[in-house]
């Protein structure tokens, strides 16, 4: 397991726009697509989201993997949604044209939103995302919970690996039986105790540097040329979706 790191810098052609703008753009995009009924507007939206994600530096393989997961799920829903009467007795099933069209719209919508979110926000490193959320007036507790998780999940993972490896080096093998359960119990217990101890030490370390319940943010985002380029592109794409819907 690996976590996105703050240095996973993007190197897309649009270059780094303000992360807050990206988060807001994805939120607005989601609302827009959900409210858009026209399939051609949705198809355009999907294509635009793909290009934008690509321009912001998302890799094809990552986008493909994310889409595969979503569309696998949609494939399961297909018979439920597009068949006229979905029952074993109604075999062979017949596709209903209107329902198939509806399904296609749902699929386009879902992929369009996923690609936009993937390209704009998911590629953002967690540190940036956390800070952007703080600046967007997200409750600081939630933002810090996310940042702390990002920092310490890796360490928990390392500690678990170390404990499990130590057990295996002394011949432990996972089987079905009381010995395995007891050992796993001891390992998990060990991990919990270590985590509690660590949490306490972290609080002490924070106190030592004058922590009094407040986190200050060093980095401040500044308006830059990248924001203008991104803003114009995004406005053009949004406008086009609206034109295709109502034009």
């Amino acid at each position: 397991m690996s976590w996105p790191t703050p240095t996973a810098s993007r190197s897309g052609t649009l270059l780094k726009p303000d992360p807050r703008a990206l988060i807001l753009a994805v939120a607005a995009w989601t609302v827009l697509l959900v409210l858009t009924p026209a399939p051609r507007a949705l198809a355009f939206g999907l294509a635009a989201a793909l290009l934008l994600a690509k321009a912001l530096g998302a890799s094809w393989s990552l986008l493909a993997r994310r889409c595969l997961a979503l569309n696998g799920f949609l494939a399961l829903l297909f018979p439920l949604m597009a068949v006229e009467s979905f029952a074993l007795s109604a075999w062979p099933w017949r596709l209903s044209p209107e329902r198939t069209l509806l399904f296609a719209a749902v699929a386009l919508r879902a992929n369009g939103i996923l690609l936009m979110a993937q390209g704009l926000v998911a590629a953002m490193d967690l540190a940036t995302l956390g800070h952007a959320l703080v600046h967007l007036r997200c409750p600081p507790k939630l933002a810090h919970l996310m940042l702390f998780s990002a920092r310490y999940l890796t360490i928990l993972q390392e500690e678990w690996t170390a404990l499990y490896r130590a057990a295996r080096l002394r011949g432990f093998r996972m089987k079905w039986g009381p010995h395995t359960w007891r050992t796993l119990g001891a390992l998990v217990g060990g991990l919990v105790l270590r985590s509690l101890d660590r949490a306490e030490q972290i609080l002490l370390a924070m106190k030592c540097r004058g922590y009094q319940g407040q986190f200050h943010v060093l980095r401040h985002f500044r308006f830059s040329r990248a924001d203008i380029v991104f803003g114009l592109t995004w406005a053009a794409v949004t406008g086009m979706v609206l034109v295709l819907t109502y034009g």
Binding site: P6, T7, R151, L204, C208, V217
Partner: protein, 217 residues
């Protein structure tokens, strides 16, 4: 010169059994370098934690920066003026990037943003880890983590540094940086360590803890 810290007849024990510290006296004057040695479990870490009030003695007097310290409120400003380096750097680096971590203390001191930014840059440069600035602590090597943790307290411009096993896991070049930085600093140093050669390089007065007391060697 008035000492930064003075401990008088300190007794401290964890819940059960023998007290870890049993009648310890200590003074640390400005600019002084003191080595704290002793076998594992002899109470070196406990002593450092007592100085900044993370734990309180069962009896004895802790004086710091000119007055007696008893309550949590008493110790708050002691912690801002004496930087404690923890044994495990992962516990000390809890922010998303090294720069944020170094900025944490100075912000809590109430400094203005520009001053904080300058202090961060200076501290990282001083320890030769400017390249780690925007990296997550997760990505640093053991030695870099150690130096980054030191940077977080150096940035606060403390009068004293209390270092718990500072050389743990350092390779030669990081060690050199550490020695150079500690030699240059005007802070008083209290260093708990097993590392004889390191302590010799800093020419410290030695205090040896054993069975709860300081022993002459």
């Amino acid at each position: 010169m008035e000492p930064l810290f003075s401990l008088a007849d300190i007794v401290f024990g964890y819940k059960s059994g023998q007290p870890v510290l049993n009648g310890v006296d200590l003074t640390l004057t400005p600019g002084e370098r003191v080595a704290l040695t002793g076998p594992n479990g002899s109470g070196k870490t406990t002593l450092l934690h007592l100085l900044v009030g993370l734990i309180r003695p069962q009896s004895g007097v802790v004086r710091a920066f000119g007055r007696e310290r008893k309550t949590e409120a008493d110790f708050r400003d002691v912690r801002l003026r004496a930087g404690l380096l923890f044994e495990d750097s992962d516990n000390q680096l809890f922010c998303a990037t090294v720069a944020e971590d170094v900025a944490f203390g100075p912000f809590n001191l109430g400094w203005a943003r520009e001053r904080v930014a300058d202090a961060v840059t200076a501290a990282l440069k001083r320890l030769d880890i400017a390249h780690c600035r925007d990296r997550s602590p997760n990505e640093l090597s053991h030695g870099e983590k150690r130096l980054a943790a030191l940077a977080t307290i150096l940035a606060m411009e403390p009068a004293a540094l209390l270092l718990d096993e500072p050389t743990n896991g350092l390779d030669d070049s990081h060690r050199e940086t550490l020695v150079r930085t500690l030699r240059e600093t005007e802070c008083a140093l209290l260093i708990a360590s097993h590392d004889r050669t390191f302590l010799d390089k800093l020419a410290c007065r030695n205090l040896h803890l054993e069975s709860g007391r300081f022993k002459q060697r």
